[in-house]
Symmetry: C2
Subunit: 199 residues, 2 copies
């Protein structure tokens, strides 16, 4: 599917066929595309928790306003990020020339060190970018998706045993939609959303 | 261009043809696709500041480690978000049925009210998602892009006269690349990035 068509036809679908199973090949393809998403300083700070366990899905659903897509979609992905990914930047630059490493590695350190909010912002931005890669990839493969943040973040963190230096950004569910999304309910115009030079 | 090809061939390009001008039609298409990105509660909290003014570009470049793409790319977009978008949710749901509005509007209020970090996280997530829509749209239209957060956020906020209840998330520059990106410098494997059920 063409990129433009995937962007136009992607909608947040709430109802999925609980019987549909995606193949391992499809799942591998989705994640392989997701990790081509850009990250600042190439930190690859995202971690994708794929929840397959049926009971764990049911428990998460209880902390997500009982939304059926949590248990019915083929894939439930909890997008998390490692807040400390910046601490070992040489891992992500090992194939780069020495002069590139000599510039990038100290720059990453000074960008994040002792800056909790900057680390957290990076987590949310990176996961947002990767979420859209997942959703557009899914659409182009014939699947529907829904991004979600209507859940109890602390309870879900407990359930997935999230490490202390990681944070949850959002869920993305992917599967065979069985009911179309609502029509877009009230979209703003470009005249309000695109600002020229200054506010 | 197919979605998969756009995802695979999109790279963070640093060198752009300063003479290239995008047509108004191309620019309108890019932004029209960007605003089809999903947002929580359909808040459409992003604001896209398009910096056209040559002097303003030069000033921003001074606060962005003198990176040449700031002035040389055809488009410099400062992705911002309105932290208070949740305060008027009826605008975004005016075409929805009353029972949908009766559920969604109070839910949005209680999700964001008095929760500064939640509001900020939403800003970063939404802008991340929209940034990837912009970058993949650009690629499919034959353009290159670069996401950037290596700049002085406070100085740029002053320069674009950012309102107090808005926040900057990142830049996206778009244009005709004239030098390919570095080869990917050290990518992690799916075995590390995809976690099954629990950490």
């Amino acid at each position: 599917m063409k990129t433009e068509e995937a962007i136009i036809t992607r909608r947040s679908v709430k109802h999925f066929d609980p019987e549909h199973k995606m193949t391992q090949e499809e799942i591998d393809k989705l994640f392989s595309l997701a990790i081509l998403s850009p990250t600042a300083f190439n930190l690859q700070n995202w971690r994708f928790v794929r929840v397959e366990d049926t009971n764990l899905r049911k428990e998460i659903r209880q902390h997500a306003m009982d939304q059926s897509q949590i248990t019915d979609a083929s894939l439930l992905i909890v997008l998390c990020a490692n807040l400390n990914a910046w601490k070992n930047p040489q891992r992500y630059w090992k194939n780069a020339a020495k002069e590139v490493q000599d510039f990038i590695l100290p720059a990453a350190d000074s960008y994040y060190r002792d800056k909790d909010q900057v680390q957290r912002d990076e987590a949310m931005r990176s996961c947002g970018i990767a979420a859209q890669t997942l959703m557009l990839s899914a659409k182009s493969m014939g699947y529907d998706s829904c991004p979600m943040d209507g859940f109890d973040f602390d309870q879900v963190a407990n359930l997935i045993q999230l490490p202390d230096d990681h944070v949850i950004s959002m869920f993305v569910v992917i599967g065979k939609g069985i009911k179309p999304a609502w029509p877009r309910p009230g979209q703003l115009g470009l005249d309000e959303l695109v600002i020229s030079n200054t506010f």
